[in-house]
């Protein structure tokens, strides 16, 4: 009964969210048609919708989407492994944490994408450059949130482990990591956002392919509706990654 109620309310929430999106789109359409917004800067949402099939056919969007998705996947894989391990190291070694935490936090606000010439010099005009920029951009929030999650584990849970004479690895695997997991996932979601923004940004700048290049091509042709439609596919990539992340979190911590 409780499960049925919970399913119903989650459906209601999803429907409400969708209704809000539709309403906001209608408001923008209405404001543009009334001349309250400039149609030379913002295209009509209805035009964006209508341009979708054109974009899919002309720009071979599936390929571009797959490229961006793959780049993001590789970058996030690196972010997850390196970010979580670095967070663990900073938690474990207090001196290392004191020496680097501020720098890691500062790196989170750095516009990494603007350093793309450096990455081009190091990795060439290849997918590696794009993946590495996404990886570097997505790393700080994962490190910081892993550290926060581990450090924020309730003392009493650690004491339960100590009272049962858990070894260092058991303490980490059985108590610290599961306790930190919700915070780690917050970091992964933030990392994903940073990663995707930078990946699309660098695709836009170096014209190597992917959704960023589609956006660039359409913008240069002053195809506003096409540009916004391509941006819609970037949002779709983000949504797909968020769904996957959420599923993994639910699998690891079923009660969340």
């Amino acid at each position: 009964m409780a499960t049925q109620h919970s399913t119903q309310s989650s459906w209601a929430a999803a429907l409400f969210g969708f209704a809000v999106l539709v309403a906001a789109t209608c408001v923008v359409e209405w404001m543009l048609r009334l001349g309250l917004l400039n149609r030379y800067i913002v295209p009509l949402p209805s035009e964006v919708m209508l341009s979708l099939p054109r974009i899919v056919i002309e720009e071979k969007i599936a390929g571009a989407f797959a490229t961006t998705f793959l780049e993001c996947f590789y970058a996030m894989l690196l972010v997850t492994v390196v970010g979580i391990l670095t967070g663990i190291l900073l938690y474990r070694f207090t001196a290392l944490r004191a020496a680097t935490e501020t720098w890691v936090a500062a790196a989170a606000s750095a516009p990494i994408v603007l350093a793309y010439p450096l990455f081009l010099v190091v990795f060439g005009r290849t997918m590696t450059t794009i993946v590495m920029i996404g990886f570097i951009a997505g790393l700080p929030p994962v490190i910081l949130k892993t550290l926060e999650g581990l450090a924020g584990t309730r003392r009493v849970l650690v004491d339960v482990g100590r009272s049962l004479k858990l070894g260092a690895w058991q303490m980490f695997a059985k108590i610290l990591l599961p306790a930190a997991l919700p915070t780690v996932f917050v970091g992964l979601r933030l990392g994903l956002i940073f990663c995707l923004i930078n990946i699309v940004g660098v695709e836009f700048l170096i014209n190597y392919g992917g959704l960023g290049q589609v956006i660039n091509d359409r913008a240069e042709r002053y195809d506003l509706a096409g540009t916004y439609a391509a941006i819609g596919f970037v949002i779709l990539t983000s949504v797909l990654f968020f769904i996957v992340t959420e599923r993994i979190e639910r699998w690891l911590r079923p009660q969340t």
Partner: protein, 285 residues
Amino acid sequence: MAQQDATRLTRLAAAPTERVLEIDNLAKQFDTPEGPLKAVDDVSFAVRRGEFLSVIGPSGCGKSTVFNIIGGLQAEFEGRVTIQGQPISGPHKSIGMVFQEESTFPWRTVLDNVCFPLEIAGMAKAKRHDKARHFIALVGLAGFENRYPAELSGGMRQRVAIARTLASEPTILLMDEPFASLDEQTRLLLGDKVLQIQQQLSQTTLLITHNITEAVQLSDRILVMTFRPGRVKRIVEIDLPRPRTSEIVSSTAFGRYVAEIWGDLREEATRGMQESEASARGGKG
């Protein structure tokens, strides 16, 4: 009355005298920004097998320090703590700890929480599940095995923590104000449950508490501590019939014990309050 006496005599005759836990001249000092602070000093007592002993004292008397030292969580201290003759130098498998704070693992079901110590001990899955189910039933939570702690009340969560500790079959069950965060009615009912389990398993239990009613309801003996530095002020034998339930709180004898212990504690609690106020004034000035 005759029946009460018979029960008492039977209990006394059966009362084992083997000392499973001995504490000799225990002292602990902490370094604070205001200088060294002696939390406990010259504390000596023993717990006999199957006995329920409560340590009671005002806030700041070092009860939790004693709990942490006996549990092996506080490594540096003066004096000697032995369990079945073995000195303590860290957490000991003979001691099972139940903490004041909510300590169930929120990511594990009730069954998996109770299985935890057995899992750590390397017990096979089927066997540990069977054993965990037994202890879950013992604390009255049969049917809740697959629930997560977030789906349970505070009292139920504390019962999960007790079942988890009991599952490791400790020689001594060490509890630090396990019902402190619960309301009075739940506290009394959980007291009944603890008494029932303690009697059923003949579990040696050491309870740290500041609640006089709880201590009298559950204990064979009560150790009253002074305010800082915590010292043993007095040990009171609670000669109330067993098996007990929370109904005993309405008896005259129970009221006498509560009044007697409060008489001992009042002076210490007042001193504690006065020192806290003086310290707050000093800090403000």
